[in-house]
Symmetry: D4
Subunit: 174 residues, 8 copies
């Protein structure tokens, strides 16, 4: 599919358990926008609104969604609850919202039983950004224009390191 006729219905959903997770999960939205990937954001809770969560997951593929991104803290069950109800790839972003510094959300997101995977990324903001990059990598398998954008993104990563390197050398002389 060329960039010209890329669909405007959402391909990715960014889900989170609470609006307090929004500042971190916004990083995923920003990164999806960068790639030009249409997305939607939604608040659902594995523990507080389970039926709505399950319904969202069951209907996701039919609505045209391709990848689900779920951010959650503490006993972070959201990504797993979605993965239980869909065969779409689900990406889990552990958030460090409890006193346990994110160890709880990382283990709760990653250690799923055989048969129901969650693609777990890093705890916190780096993870939220990477959830979007991973979604782009998945979608790019069938979207050459997006694949090209990802290749450019990788060159930009390199370029930014080189810029920082040049700036460092300009200001710090041994």
């Amino acid at each position: 599919m060329s960039a010209a006729n890329r669909p405007t219905t959402p391909l990715v959903a960014i889900l989170m358990g609470s609006d307090t997770d929004l500042p971190v999960m916004q990083k995923a939205a920003t990164q999806l926008k960068y790639f030009g990937i249409p997305y939607e954001m939604e608040i659902v809770s594995a523990h507080r609104s389970p039926a709505r969560t399950a319904a969202f997951a069951r209907e996701a593929a039919g609505r045209g969604l391709r990848v689900l991104i779920a951010g959650a803290g503490a006993a972070a069950a959201l990504a797993g609850a979605l993965a239980a109800e869909t065969t779409l790839p689900v990406i889990g972003v552990p958030l460090a919202t409890s006193p346990l510094a994110g160890f709880d959300s990382l283990l709760s997101t990653a250690m799923l039983p055989a048969g129901v995977p969650v693609a777990t990324v890093a705890v916190g903001e780096a993870g939220a950004t990477n959830a979007a990059v991973l979604a782009a990598q998945i979608l790019a398998l069938a979207d050459p224009a997006l694949a090209a954008r990802l290749a450019e993104f990788k060159r930009e990563l390199i370029g930014k390191v080189e810029e920082k390197s040049a700036k460092l050398k300009a200001t710090h002389q041994a």
Copy 2:
């Protein structure tokens, strides 16, 4: 309610994600039998059979169940998934089934968000036994005969310590 006409329909359900959890969760069954509390055992999985898990939880109170005990390992979501769908007390038993030695299941079971509690007990066999004792303590609030049995159980705990003490003193002289 007197011991004579205690109901024979299950008051407690012992749920687990897999039959491999049975040897540990059997401790809960043994302890419930000790208290004369009718129970049922069931295998449901938060991740592999979510609809059945949710249905079980939603129908539990109507079927006469009063307390749910859920044993699960790794990203142990079972107890939380049940608690999401019922207002019955749910007791979670973290099981040490992954390489992470039970830290994953303990954090996944205990760190639930405000509004949806799980009564978490110890990792492993001690926890399975204690889930049954806790269930008995809950049921005993409305069952004087069971309360009396619990009081006796506490005396037996003391008695066993004294027996072990006597045996130790008989065999080990400084």
Copy 3:
């Protein structure tokens, strides 16, 4: 028991080791008030006033208390000390008061030996709130009005998620 003649003598005690724990444990009080459950608050320390702690636990049932909630940090022994002296259900709230971020209090509260359970909830404020919800769930087994209130509480949880979802959609358009 109908809501009309619900007792005004405390059914739940919220115990804590120090007044510095009050800001977090107040969440439990707020939630019990929400459910209309009469409660009392008390400061007792497993390590600093052990006799008073034990006496409290031994007399609790006789005074009409049905559930004990204990918040403690570090080597959090309070819930276990109470559970050692009563057959009432004891709910433990681990508090993150030491440099070890709550891992110490979580393990100290949850890992009790077979025979003496503590119903452990999450570390910190979510746990304090959930201790009250769990107490309500336990009391509701013999109190249909409270059970109805819990069902409404669950609907409110769902409603709040939906409100947040609506607000998110109103303000964030992809």
Copy 4:
């Protein structure tokens, strides 16, 4: 693409740092076979053969590979090293091969910096199986036959739980 003309050139590569990782990573192979997904297995080491690892990743897309699965233990850098050199989705399987019980490999695999995601799954055998399921979920986005196979796989997961449940009920009567 229909099942009839599914390609026989590998779509997935299963990489590992050492042949000692093979018994666990074989689970991924078994699961890919189950889905009828052609794959290849390879031993490359981020630390011992970095040039070969980088070359593999750089050439992977051109050779027709769509998803890379990397299993590694300890300071598990393999998945990240591959992700650094390709925009294909990379799935990391942390292995519990050091004395630190898999905590080292989980943190090393999951905590990647913004820009270079690794889809981390559970530590050990469950993770190896799930890496294959996740790869299938990704590939199924453009392969309706595979999507159907995944839907059937989900039904089988449910069926197996029901079988175990029936067996449990047949052998354990309270």
Copy 5:
């Protein structure tokens, strides 16, 4: 006090929560015997026989005991429960009896609140031995003969290292 008229009534009590802790705690007994310090062993449980535990601690000083050694696993409350009821020095030996590898017992034993110290030693057998050495160091402050024995013990430690060194050199030549 000279070695000749050292008392035969116990100066040290070795307490443990269960006879399953005996094989490890026996190391403390062996080491006390080595120093010629009269001791007694007792099984008491902070959680299962709290009144007996408290009584033991309250009567300990009056019975001539000078130091209490307490070994316990999991949510290891025994040492703290004793320290709550006596001003004698209490030494805690964390035991690795739960799936959590001793992290639970170490944190539960060491992290006591201000005012009620427990002298915590290492997890497991090294700790059991060291509890006895520490008890000897404490008692030696008022017992010159024991102080001399401790000085000799330190020389023996050095001597054993030298013996092992000599043996190593005899058998391993680079």
Copy 6:
């Protein structure tokens, strides 16, 4: 020894690796003053001034010191280095001075090998206070006046809990 002729030469030394540890270790000094126990404070470092550390430990008993208290953070070796060179009781206070939140100092202080104990107390300020209380408990074995002061201290602990309880009840009515 009566309170009247209690010695004014230091019985306890409070050692720390750096003056940055002083604010926490000052708690030990305050508590020793409370008990009327003469003490000295010293800065020595196991790693930066090892010879001075060893000399301090070797000369400590001869100078009349009875108990050594050592506070250190990170790879907290100070207490163990002192214990290696003296048979006086050494109390270790782990300090949370590194990014690892005190887990490093707790493990480094407590996990000593058989033969060389360190009496480890809690991480941080509670531990610093308790080091002094433990020192008092040790010294009180041969000082009845100090034993009486400790008994009074325990009553004060109880009294403070009761005061806080009364204050709580005065201000919080359910």
Copy 7:
């Protein structure tokens, strides 16, 4: 080599993954300056600019570099990636940049497989300083003037402890 004709081309490279790591890694630069060791600073990223990282490592020895210091946080792969491509000694400084408090970077830096060592130092600023001291120790093996400077540095460490001790005694009298 005498101090007179010490080379001015860099002997040590201080590498880091991002300019946000500079404030901590500057400690290494300061310490190298103290020793008069010429160094260069560079920003390279194992994950974002892998080819440049590998090239740096492969060319390092040829350019006259003798020791590489690499600071990185989270899944800290930089030091290992360099070590994979050079036989020069590589020193890894784990940085506490993620929510996981440095546990992730410490395990990721230290737990390398047999054949590819990284000399890991402490997490954070102490580690950055020590990376430079360790580099000096390595270089001093072939540089007697530097060895003398290190000996003086050690005396200064002792001197600073003595100064702090004197200041403490002047201001704190028991």
Copy 8:
């Protein structure tokens, strides 16, 4: 220095706290032999024979030693105790000898204060091998023949991966 006249007096010392550490530390010896680096093995204990440990470190440089390798478990103080007394590079190998799975020894070895570095390698056998490789890398800075041997060693690492890869492909066909 050419291989022909490489010295036969030890350049590296492999130290360990106990002969029980020998099976793991033997890996370091084997690897040094592989490189043709003369070494000696010695048993010294930071805690049990501190004076001998300090003396060894102080005399090491004068005896011609260039690098010290120290293996220790639990509160692994040996490497730090050596580093405190010498300016030679000290490599620490954390051993998993306590119930805490090596977390204690890793933190105790790595988290040294500014001024006294220990080059920490991985926990266990991989670390023991790598201590020798790191020692070789350090010595090779002034020994071109050894540098060549290290380059060959790196090629062998690559070769072994390729051999394993070939063997895998021969036996596992997808």
